[in-house]
């Protein structure tokens, strides 16, 4: 690896991007959007919450009880896919011991109450408790059947209930900031990189570079240096306008690096496979849409496992956690997953590019 050649290749990339007015305009738009969000975005998550929906309701219980057993055995088939029973030991908590529920979920917590009764807490996302209506109807109907089924000699257990709103939630500001950050990363690495690389190939300039003393490894290294730096610089600017303090968090940088190198790998894979600039743009768009659709289908149908194979599943979660300073153990898991995927994508991209990417 020769620095003289790397420098010449990097200089060429800088010049090409400075001449690409469309790309510069979009990057500036992203920064402008981030500034607008920073100055005018709603800062109170509770007031500005995105209208929530419940795709999963947890039934969390301290100890197995007859009521829990009854509920479990009387779960209607239409709700079966949307209800999950969990003992307290399996419920994730943050560093302070507070129970954490993922976005789009609600919970029915069952605790022992006074005189052998039960204390029930209905936790709903957002201000509108009616989002939990199907689960509450089921619960109360079965709770009534349960009390009625008790032997007459035995007093019916008392059931105290309360409704509570889950704190936090996806506030528009942090959600938008995460979206802008991800869009910026994917724009640079999954759109710009394949598009400009394939343009070079289509024009034959990539071949001209490959016939110069620059080796394929050096051409590849220059791309692996330039695009991540551009993506990181954009991410830093966007984060600065949102919450500068986040830049001091190691988790943010780790998450960002995993996201950048993962998206670089995806972009370079597309660039190596596509023959023309048009094919590269189409490839980038189709990839993004296909993954979004796949994740949506998996989420709606609760298909396990498959989403973990997509970088796009891990990135929003870990970056949002980093931006909001709410990093849980699960986010470290997402970081590990994203890192593994980033390495795999980068290896695939390097293999494909070295094999026939420049031809």
């Amino acid at each position: 690896m020769r620095w003289r050649i790397l420098r010449a290749l990097l200089h060429k990339e800088v010049l090409r991007h400075l001449a690409n007015r469309g790309g510069i305009a979009l990057l500036l738009l992203l920064i402008a959007a981030s500034l607008l969000l920073s100055f005018f975005g709603v800062r109170d998550a509770a007031n500005g919450e995105v209208a929530p929906s419940v795709r999963l309701c947890y039934v969390d219980y301290g100890t197995p009880s007859p009521l829990v057993a009854h509920l479990r055995s009387h779960l209607p088939s239409e709700l079966a896919r949307y209800v999950e029973f969990r003992p307290a030991q399996r419920v994730p908590t943050d560093a302070n011991g507070t129970i954490v529920y993922p976005q789009g979920t609600a919970a029915i917590q069952i605790r022992p109450g006074a005189d052998g009764g039960y204390r029930i807490s209905f936790w709903h996302p957002g201000r509108d408790a009616s989002v939990m209506a199907p689960f509450e109807i089921w619960f109360w109907k079965e709770a009534l059947h349960f009390t009625q089924s008790q032997p007459a000699a035995k007093p019916s257990p008392t059931i105290e209930a309360e409704r509570l709103q889950l704190k936090g939630g996806l506030d528009p500001r942090s959600g938008m900031a995460t979206a802008l950050l991800l869009f910026g990363l994917f724009f640079v690495c999954v759109y710009l990189l394949p598009s400009l690389t394939c343009e070079e190939r289509e024009r034959g300039v990539l071949l001209a570079q490959a016939l110069s003393p620059a080796t394929t490894t050096e051409i590849l290294a220059a791309k692996f240096l330039f695009y991540p730096v551009l993506a990181l610089a954009l991410a830093v600017v966007l984060t600065l306008t949102y919450r500068p303090i986040v830049l001091t968090r190691p988790f943010f940088w780790l998450a960002l690096l995993a996201a950048v190198f993962g998206s670089m790998g995806i972009g370079l894979t597309i660039a190596s496979l596509a023959r023309t600039q048009r094919a590269a743009s189409m490839g980038a768009m189709c990839y993004t849409l296909a993954v979004a659709l796949l994740l949506f289908i998996c989420q709606q149908n609760r298909i396990p496992g498959l989403p973990y194979l997509a970088l796009e599943y891990h990135c929003p979660r870990m970056l949002h956690a980093a931006l909001t300073d709410m990093v849980l153990a699960s986010h470290w898991g997402h970081l590990a997953g994203a890192t593994v995927l980033a390495v795999l994508w980068s290896l695939l991209a390097a293999f494909l590019f070295r094999r026939h990417g420049w031809q």
């Binding site: 050649i5 010449a8 200089h11 001209a208 016939l211 110069s212």
Partner: protein
């Protein structure tokens, strides 16, 4: 000849599946030689060139450049040759000068060499203009300038005079002659026999991947020119006299002495006829 050979092709074979594009082609090019590869479309010129510029591995045979094996020593060979493709491949958004500066950076040549090359191809005045504003001829001259940046020992040109006007063609041919005088070996592929005759020291004629003739253009002309004369007699009759036939030659002499010849025309070397005679297929 041994060490005096800059480029050697030994039984070079290029296959695309079952199709043989180049069939056991053997050539030797000497330093300072201007060599033409001539042939119709599909003759194997481009496939041979693709091997020489490392875009394709030979299916068989061996290629050496300055004694180095093309496959094994590719990285060392890359600095020895310059390549001028048939299709221009510039950074359209940059000026001609910027284009050369980028490649000068890759080759590690000083900035003044960029100006020298621009001057050589008569592009100094247009060097500041973006390439997208260049004419086809200017773009091709810029390609030549890029190919010469690092002072290669071997220069490959694919259809060098395509899209060039008469003056630019003369400039390019002049540059090629100067280069060969300095010891640079030039290998050019072309459809154009006239170009070969004007500039090449030797020419190889390819057809369907096979070498069918290898000689100097003059020798080819002498070997294959038709020694016949078309005569229009005073009475309006047309006759053809074969100059290799003693009787025909004597008969022509009689007609000329008797003042019966209205017009007389010798047959010129016709490359297309020669190609047809050599290969049995028309030059297309």
């Amino acid at each position: 000849m041994g060490t005096d050979v800059i480029l050697r092709l030994d039984d070079l074979t290029v296959r695309y599946g079952a199709f043989v594009a180049v069939d056991r082609l053997s050539l030797e090019l000497r330093p300072g030689e201007l060599f033409g590869l001539l042939g119709p479309n599909g003759a194997g010129k481009s496939s041979s060139l693709r091997v020489l510029i490392g875009q394709r591995r030979p299916s068989g045979g061996r290629v050496t450049v300055a004694g180095l094996d093309l496959v094994r020593d590719w990285q060392r060979i890359k600095t020895l040759f310059g390549y001028v493709p048939d299709r221009e491949n510039h950074f359209e958004e940059f000026s001609g000068r910027r284009n050369l500066q980028i490649f000068a950076g890759l080759y590690g040549v000083p900035a003044r060499r960029v100006e020298e090359c621009l001057e050589l191809v008569e592009l100094s005045e247009a060097a500041h203009l973006p390439v997208r504003a260049y004419s086809l001829g200017m773009r091709r001259k810029l390609l030549l300038a890029r190919g010469l940046l690092h002072r290669p020992r071997l220069l490959y040109l694919d259809e060098p005079s395509a899209n060039l006007d008469i003056h630019s063609t003369a400039v390019v041919h002049g540059i090629l002659r100067t280069l060969t005088a300095e010891g640079v070996t030039v290998l050019l592929t072309t459809h154009n026999m006239r170009e070969v005759e004007e500039v090449c020291d030797r020419v190889a004629i390819l057809c369907r991947g096979r070498l069918i003739a290898l000689d100097s253009p003059l020798a080819l002309r002498q070997q294959h020119v038709e020694r016949k004369v078309d005569v229009l007699l005073a009475g309006g009759a047309r006759r053809v006299f074969d100059l290799d036939d003693d009787d025909a030659r004597a008969c022509l002499g009689k007609h000329v002495a008797a003042g019966e010849v209205a017009s007389l025309q010798t047959r010129e070397f016709d490359f297309h006829e020669t190609f047809l005679k050599l290969t049995g297929t028309p030059f297309e």
